[in-house]
Symmetry: C2
Subunit: 247 residues, 2 copies
């Protein structure tokens, strides 16, 4: 059975302020929840209809019916299991390798796709400005397809972070240097900006270099690439072997 | 004023079968509509509240009020202008350069993003299997951000098309050859598959080579990249100067 208080809690976690207040977030669907459990995320509540629950969590899981699941689910087609997890403790900021920084990215789908890209390209930390969309937003969690269990997302004052860091900072801008002509270091920070306004002036001032993806058609349109596809191409450029500096 | 028949027509164009029957599709929003008008798409109906209409179409435009616009719009926040356009006549299949082929891509957002990528990378034709989501689906039109005026999208039997074409066919698969280690020709066909099932067997049999984007983390997860971000990286690889074969 689902109690009234549980329903109230789960609904409140749709909002960032309650996720922050309780340090909790919601995951839906068998596959995603198994990934969070296997990655040692601590479940606060675990509801299921007849969904798969790993053995060591079976005692904790509460069997509910489809009607009850529908009451607490945000999905059009609720998927057997719904869990509330404790947010993980923030990890210390990484000072090595390639780090991605987001300056006020707003679209949940874009953030989800970017977390999945970080996972693919071995970028273990994603540093976000405090105005970037919350990574525990249900739409983001859904779009990451489990990658949120492997990529640590940290919200901080990115201007301060970038000023202190010792690696080269590359800012992606529309007028930046042609990325296809550059040799890129393995130790670096890549900054991507907001979907509509790009990178803010204060952040841009911390950059050592700018980057852009050249347009290959012969007109001045389209005006831009989508934030997630631009991130995909730039992460690929930082990782592709022949682009990297040696050593 | 909007007539009952016009409301009925516009609502019916949400569905592919009526878009095909009437050879018409809907575009919403000032910016998008101006792009279609400037690209010489022929408007069938042009409604606006107090939106911007290019001078040469002003006579044709019908002034309506916000309440009427709300009745015909599919947007949460209707945006001043709504137009019904005639679909353009299909262009002959291109036999040169880089062509992208989609095998049963289903997600409207992905198709929109891919059309925008084609535009950016100068791929003027996108060939889709007949089961691929319709490019005149309103969600696709919205996601292309005007790129649909510059990229021609053709639905056809792609197995037949690929069998007849004289350029090398590269199929993107999970187990394909590492794209970062290949030299790619300027004249080629890149095939991307369905989001869940990849490329079908019949299509794969027409390919001269397979391609994949290597995963850079040290685990076997995530299982895949999103279809649009994978397309972004592969189109970038086909276009980046140092990857291309000479001549």
């Amino acid at each position: 059975m689902v109690s009234k208080n549980q329903i109230k809690l789960i609904h409140s976690l749709q909002q960032k302020k309650y996720r922050n207040l309780h340090d909790l977030f919601v995951v839906e669907g068998e596959k995603g929840i198994v990934e969070f459990l296997e990655a040692q995320f601590e479940p606060h509540i675990l509801f299921h209809t007849d969904g798969f629950i790993p053995k060591n969590h079976y005692k904790q899981a509460i069997l509910i019916n489809d009607k009850e699941l529908k009451k607490i689910s945000q999905l059009k087609t609720p998927n057997k299991v719904l869990a509330v997890f404790h947010k993980p403790k923030p990890k210390p900021l990484s000072k090595k390798g390639l780090t991605l920084v987001l300056d006020d990215l707003k679209d949940p789908g874009n953030l989800g796709t970017i977390i999945r890209l970080c996972d693919w390209f071995g970028v273990s930390q994603l540093i976000c400005s405090t105005e970037t969309v919350d990574c525990y937003n249900p739409k983001v969690v859904q779009a990451t397809m489990g990658s949120l269990t492997r990529v640590s997302v940290i919200y901080t004052d990115i201007v301060n972070y970038l000023k202190q860091c010792k690696r080269s900072v590359y800012a992606a801008t529309m007028e930046g240097k042609n990325v296809y002509k550059l040799t890129l270091p393995k130790e670096a920070i890549l900054v991507m900006g907001n979907e509509a306004n790009g990178i803010s002036k204060a952040v841009l001032e911390t950059a050592n270099s700018t980057l852009s993806i050249s347009r290959f058609n012969k007109t001045d349109k389209p005006e831009s690439l989508n934030a997630a596809t631009a991130t995909a191409i730039l992460l690929s450029e930082f990782n592709r072997p022949s682009t990297q500096m040696k050593g």
